[in-house]
């Protein structure tokens, strides 16, 4: 923690400023006290010079000397106010732990409504009661600060009280004093120290503004705030007289603030860390465009243009790259396949194999800064040749996408109705009534009970299975030729999973919608698809029909996947087969076949990259060993 603190430059600057302020607060009145008090009627309201760095005030006193001398008063009163705030607020907040339920709720509400009041108003109120003085300013600011102390400490204490060992302590009959002093305070201590440091910063500002208004430190004593008042009064003759105290207030408030913030950051980096959107986890943005590749040189050896009259989707040499410090990394590498009308295709692979990114590339949703290359033909049209303005509606009408987690994939703030109809508005130019009737029809198709009632609800009012049905209805709004379903059942339990799969089959047979089912689950895919694409390290390693898959796949990786499936017929004493090793690092792929390091059958030739070749019996495979076997037989 200490190292984390000193590594941050703002922390070091803050600490140096803080030390400076404290040293001046201690020695200031000693070295400058006499000079600050010297009246000089002949030299009033002078502008800065060598004798008077910040000029003189209306009584001819040196403003710089007064500024230095006033440091102690300002800091003392501010620290005292913060201390008062801590002493009142922390016990008040800790009460939340020991109080029974209803008094606790009332206390927390009370703290919340007091926090809403401007602290300065509370401080002015105290000044009105006690009369303006340093004491009333310190007390007023202290009381105002105590509410935020109470809020922080109650939140903290309640979270600590919720932990398991506290529940255990309560059950063991340990008294509340021991619970607070033994368990809560030591755990809350660090955070409360930080809160105090930060609150000194606000205290300096508050005390200074009170003094500035004439409600704080009273003459003949003076602090930065009251000096600022005098400075503003002679603003036109000597601006430095106002800017000096203003800078002093700002700098010392900044010093305490910086140190407090840096302490907090060093202690809890998660809490204070800047939000850096995790790029791969948040696929958004639709910048990437397919570009026709000019040279055939980049093509995978052996890949051919799959001319298929019946295809609704044809992908050739699809590459998705993300820039990394070491150079671009291809998360999808030269992927080619075609999907016929009404066909059900499964894409299977481990996480990081590129299956989801393939789907996002097809639907033009690859997140920034990813780039996409390759050819894409959708419903007989080359996507790259579609005019820019027509592309969104074309894609919207041809591709529907159902995302993985229906709980997070539906907008919590919008009604189901809006989330369905907006798609028809955007892509079919449907008016309100049309869109609504399409939406109702789709909801009925996905077997959502009482669709008219559900339309008015928000997602949080539906169950997980119902949300996934809504998600499917959204993806079907424009009757797409292709439905991409990315792990549509992973977030659901097994019974619902079966229902959703049934539904996909129904949609497929009803409208002839081609379905691309993306899953890590080979069993699920083999039960619900006609054909399976197996992906590894961003490439297709095998393309196999389900019948052939059951007979026995060709690629060692697919065989490994199949062998690792639990099978009820398998003797229980036999261990499940696992694929040795772990998924490869895409930035540092082995030469040749990416699977070769983990492959039990690897031969010398695997150092070269195997082409994805069409097999005589149908299907494609990228493996030297398999190819040697088939040519030999």
């Amino acid at each position: 923690m200490r190292r984390a603190f000193f590594r941050s430059p703002t922390a070091v600057i803050g600490l140096l400023l803080l030390l400076l302020v404290i040293v001046i607060a201690i020695i200031g009145p000693i070295i400058m006290g006499t000079k600050a008090a010297q009246l000089n009627p002949s030299a009033f309201d002078e502008t800065p010079s060598f004798q008077h760095l910040l000029g003189t005030d209306s009584l001819g006193r040196d403003i710089f000397a007064r500024l230095v001398a006033a440091t102690r008063t300002t800091i003392t009163v501010s620290v005292a106010a913060a201390a008062i705030g801590a002493v009142i607020g922390i016990p008040l907040g800790l009460c939340a732990v020991v109080l029974p339920r209803y008094p606790r709720i009332i206390l927390l509400r009370f703290i919340d409504s007091l926090i809403a009041f401007p602290g300065l108003l509370i401080a002015i109120f105290v000044a009105a009661v006690l009369g303006p003085s340093a004491t009333s300013a310190g007390l007023g600011v202290g009381i105002a600060l105590s509410f935020s102390f109470a809020r922080v400490s109650s939140t903290l204490a309640l979270s600590i009280a919720g932990r398991d060992y506290m529940a255990a302590a309560r059950i063991l009959g340990i008294g509340w004093t021991r619970r607070i002093f033994r368990h809560v305070l030591p755990n809350a201590g660090e955070t409360l120290v930080i809160a105090t440091t930060v609150s000194i910063s606000s205290s300096i500002v508050a005390i200074s503004s009170l003094s500035f208004l004439g409600l704080g430190i009273q003459p003949p004593s003076y602090d930065w705030g009251s000096m600022l008042t005098l400075g503003v009064a002679s603003f036109y003759t000597n601006p430095a007289g106002a800017l000096g105290p203003a800078a002093a207030i700002a700098i010392s408030a900044l010093a305490f603030g910086l140190v407090g913030e840096a302490l907090a950051r060093a202690m809890n980096p998660l809490l204070w860390g800047e939000l850096r959107p995790v790029m791969l986890a948040s696929p958004i943005g639709f910048r990437s465009r397919f570009r026709r590749r000019s040279t055939a040189a980049h093509r995978q050896p052996g890949s051919q243009h799959l001319a298929d009259r019946d295809a609704v989707l044809e992908v050739s040499d699809l590459v998705v790259e993300f820039p990394r410090p070491t150079g671009p990394v291809a998360v999808v590498d030269r992927v080619s396949f075609a999907v016929r009308r009404g066909e059900r295709i499964g894409i299977v692979g481990e996480s990081g194999s590129g299956k989801t990114m393939t789907a996002l590339a097809i639907s033009q949703l690859v997140p920034y800064p990813g780039t996409v290359r390759g050819q894409l033909e959708l419903c007989g049209q080359e996507v790259a040749y579609i005019p820019h303005g027509e592309l969104p509606a074309f894609l919207g009408r041809s591709i529907g996408i159902a995302f993985q987690d229906p709980a997070s994939s539906l907008n919590p703030a919008l009604r189901i109705q809006t989330q369905l109809t907006e798609s028809a508005h955007a892509n079919q130019h449907a008016d309100r009534k049309q869109a609504q009737s399409i939406a109702l029809q789709r909801l009925a198709e996905v077997r959502l009970p009482a669709p008219a009632d559900q339309m008015r609800k928000h997602p949080h009012e539906l169950s997980g299975g119902m949300r996934q049905r809504v998600m499917l209805a959204i993806s079907l709004m424009n009757q797409p030729a292709v439905l991409l379903a990315d792990e549509p059942t992973t977030a659901l339990d097994v019974t619902v999973q079966a229902q959703i799969m049934e539904l996909l089959a129904e949609i497929n047979s009803l409208h002839g919608t081609a379905i691309i089912l993306i899953s890590h689950n080979l069993a699920l895919v083999s039960q619900n698809c006609d054909r399976v694409l197996v992906m590894y390290a961003g490439r297709i390693v095998e393309d196999i029909s389900v019948e052939k898959l059951v007979e026995g796949p060709r690629h060692p990786y697919t065989r490994g996947l199949l062998a690792s499936l639990p099978d009820l017929r398998q003797p229980t004493d036999e261990e499940l087969v696992q694929i040795e090793g772990s998924a490869p690092d895409l930035a540092d792929l082995p030469p040749g076949c990416p699977f070769s390091p983990r492959c039990p059958l690897a031969i010398a030739q695997c150092q070269e990259e195997p082409p994805l070749v069409e097999l005589s019996g149908g299907g494609r495979v990228a493996c030297w060993v398999t190819m040697a076997a088939t040519t030999a037989s």
């Binding site: 409504s113 809403a116 009041f117 401007p118 300065l120 108003l121 109120f125 009105a128 009661v129 006690l130 500002v205 200074s208 500035f212 208004l213 004439g214 409600l215 503003v232 603003f235 036109y236 601006p239 800017l243 700002a250 939000l275 850096r276 959107p277 948040s282 958004i284 943005g285 639907s363 949703l365 997140p367 800064p369 919207g396 996408i401 995302f403 993985q404 987690d405 229906p406 709980a407 997070s408 994939s409 539906l410 907008n411 919008l414 798609s423 009970p449 009632d453 008015r456 609800k457 009012e461 169950s463 997980g464 299975g465 119902m466 949300r467 998600m471 659901l492 339990d493 019974t495 619902v496």
Partner: protein
């Protein structure tokens, strides 16, 4: 958790549907009632505190007010005028009764009715705070959204660095220092705008800037972070998969979700705006509630202090209630406590 609950069988659904419709009919009513009760309680607390003001003063307020050349009779007259000679409870109820009818007493010094003083001084203050509020909303919400759109997914890192630096500097300067600084730059150094007074639009520019720059900076940062947060959510990807235009994505899908925390902080910022207005009015010598409050405290003009504290407090309470209401509108989950 709901994701794991089994899909509802049609037979079970009719039952849940009834339950759901009963729940959907009631939350708003229950929410409004609950808010109204707590609003009344907080207002009552506020009235009690302002009532207590005079009675909390150490010693005899009447004696303090009578000043140096006091006699027993003058103190007694002042005490009677303040109502301090009656039983506390009867004073309390007549105070509440008076507040409900807009009778807030008279200033000790000018004998002006406090209610008329509040109206007279309240208008310039409301102008100041209202203009600042509108300015804050108009700049920070669209500005933060634009900044989020420009810097999403780590785009434009340089712009992001400048944005963060500028907003954190402006977000850290307290109002009265900002006022001093602005007065120096625009009035003293550039001679562009008047430093003091109530005259016209020009004299409003610097005070409004002084109290709104800090909230603008704070909210700009907050709106950007919240919008970025929303932009990285799965449902935005869903929205993009529907090929919606940018207006629909940013205004319909991002804004309502980003607004929830912004509104919460917005309520807090508004009360700091009020405090800022009190201070800044004194810097620029504007005849508002802030200057009236400070001179009343210095002069121990208790009825005026009571009236102004009450009005400012009520404003804060009501704004917070409005914020709660807006929060419930933008986030339906907060109604049922599922947020």
């Amino acid at each position: 958790m709901t994701a794991l609950s089994p899909d509802l069988a049609p037979a079970a659904l009719t039952r849940t549907d009834d339950g759901a419709s009963r729940r959907t009919a009631n939350p708003w009513l229950r929410f409004v009632l609950r808010r109204l009760v707590s609003l009344v309680l907080v207002l009552l607390g506020l009235v009690t505190v302002t009532f207590a003001l005079v009675r909390l003063v150490p010693g005899d307020p009447a004696a303090i007010l009578a000043g140096l050349n006091q006699t027993h009779s003058t103190v007694a007259i002042i005490r009677h005028n303040l109502g301090l000679d009656r039983p506390a409870l009867s004073q309390y109820f007549s105070y509440i009764w008076g507040v409900l009818h807009g009778r807030l007493g008279r200033s000790f010094y000018t004998s002006q009715a406090v209610s008329s003083l509040l109206v007279q001084r309240g208008i310039p203050s409301a102008q100041l705070a209202g203009t600042a509020l509108i300015l804050v909303m108009l700049i920070s919400i669209p500005g933060g959204m634009i900044a989020a759109a420009l810097t999403r997914d780590g785009r434009r890192r340089h712009f992001e660095a400048v944005f963060s630096a500028v907003t954190s500097v402006f977000g850290a300067i307290p109002e009265f220092l900002m006022a001093t600084l602005l007065a120096f730059v625009f009035a003293v150094a550039l001679h562009l705008l008047p430093v003091a007074g109530n005259g016209g639009v020009q004299s409003l520019v610097l005070p409004v800037l002084a109290i709104s720059l800090r909230p603008i900076a704070v909210l700009l940062r907050l709106v950007r972070v919240e919008a970025l947060n929303v932009l990285s959510q799965d449902y935005i990807r869903t929205a993009r998969s529907k090929r919606l235009g940018w207006r629909a994505i940013y205004l319909r899908h991002v804004l309502p979700n980003a607004l929830t925390p912004v509104l919460t902080i917005g309520g807090v910022l508004f009360s700091s705006l009020i405090a800022g207005a009190v201070v800044v009015e004194n810097v620029f010598a504007r005849n508002g509630l802030g200057t009236a409050l400070v001179s009343a405290v210095l002069g121990r003009d208790y009825p005026v202090v009571q009236g102004i504290v009450l009005v400012l407090g009520v404003t804060v309470v009501i704004v917070n209630a409005i914020v709660d209401f807006l929060l419930a509108l933008t986030d339906p989950r907060s109604l049922t406590g599922q947020a």
